[in-house]
């Protein structure tokens, strides 16, 4: 990166500190889903750019500043929309699965708190 990285000093600009490319594991996962869909021929790069571009544009129109942190939020929103609108998965299935995962998380945590066995 540029040695004198003054862009990083602008208000609300995320710093590029050459840290991990994905700051959260789910960023990498969400990224990999798109790569997988493209490689398997279930998604074109053009379609993806359209969906992602639209999600970012909406966020900007709402006045939501898009920092690097927020970026994968919009990525995920675009991905869910794409999957549902192209009948790769039903919105309902995604919600149900989400609830299931949340419940499991909750139970597991409760289990650990109880001393777990």
């Amino acid at each position: 990166m540029p040695t004198s990285h003054e862009l990083a000093n602008l208000p609300l600009l995320p710093r590029d500190d050459d840290g991990p490319v994905f700051s959260e594991p789910w960023h990498a996962q969400a990224f990999a889903v798109v790569v997988e869909l493209i490689e398997a021929g279930n998604l074109t790069t053009e379609a993806w750019a359209e969906y992602l571009g639209a999600a970012l544009k909406e966020a900007e129109d709402r006045g939501e500043y898009d920092t690097g942190q927020r970026y994968y939020h919009h990525w995920l929103t675009a991905l869910e929309r794409l999957v549902v609108e192209n009948n790769l998965a039903a919105r309902e299935d995604l919600s149900k699965e989400g609830e299931f995962i949340r419940d499991n998380d909750h139970h597991r945590r409760q289990h650990q708190l109880d001393g777990g066995h």
Partner: protein
């Protein structure tokens, strides 16, 4: 020639686009805490997506891990750096690269999964090229790995087009008035690789030595490589 391949539509000048950004102040501790909570919700949504798509055999978690590993470890700016270093030493290769970078990348097996076009643009003492994706974050992944966070930032995506000299100045790069700045808008169809100027004092260096001097940002046009010695 590259000029034939690239339509004027892709060549953006300062005046052609007036992108706007709304910068609002956030960042209190409260907002930060809320953000963390929301993030875990995003993680759940991602897991749900992976799970449902896996059940439908649309994706494979095993190869997904390979994808993550690949982009985190195996693909990176060092690939593009090799291409640049070779272009400095081999005039024929440079000509072929400038004429049809996609074909050269394909020959060298550097295209990855992307079936997109690739265009190489060269920086000279009189021309400086800068790459941006105004729509999202289109980027030559197979050559440069994943884009840096600033590349994805709203401010960069807007300002690089409106005021490229100002952006470059903030990167610590002051260009003379006699240098023409060209901004290229990367798209799903066409990605760009900037061939930075070979730094002075590198005569006689091997390709590997030269490649070690080439930075990721210099191949986006956000940096000029410094003279050696």
């Amino acid at each position: 020639m590259a000029d034939d391949k690239v339509s004027r539509r892709d060549f953006i000048t300062k005046s052609s686009i007036a992108a706007s950004t709304a910068v609002t102040a956030t960042g209190s501790a409260g907002v930060h805490a809320a953000e963390e909570h929301v993030q875990s919700d995003y993680a759940v949504r991602t897991k749900a997506l992976v799970s449902v798509l896996t059940k439908k055999n649309l994706i494979n978690p095993a190869t997904m891990d390979a994808v993550v590993d690949y982009y985190e470890n195996k693909v990176g700016p060092h690939i593009g750096a090799r291409v640049v270093a070779r272009s400095w030493r081999d005039p024929d290769y440079r000509q072929r690269l400038l004429a049809d970078a996609r074909a050269v990348a394909r020959e060298d097996n550097l295209t990855g999964a992307q079936g997109t076009d690739l265009v190489a643009v060269e920086n000279t003492p009189k021309v400086h090229n800068l790459v941006v994706c105004t729509l999202c974050s289109c980027y030559p992944w197979p050559l440069l790995g994943l884009p840096p966070s600033w590349y994805k930032d709203t401010a960069y995506r807007a300002q690089a087009v409106i005021d490229p000299r100002g952006v470059l100045r903030k990167f610590g790069l002051e260009l003379g008035d006699d240098v023409e700045v060209r901004v290229w808008d990367s798209t799903a169809e066409i990605r760009y690789l900037v061939i930075p100027e070979r730094p002075a004092g590198t005569e006689g260096m091997s390709e590997a030595e030269l490649a070690s001097l080439v930075t990721r940002d210099s191949m986006i046009g956000a940096e000029k490589l410094e003279s050696r010695g």
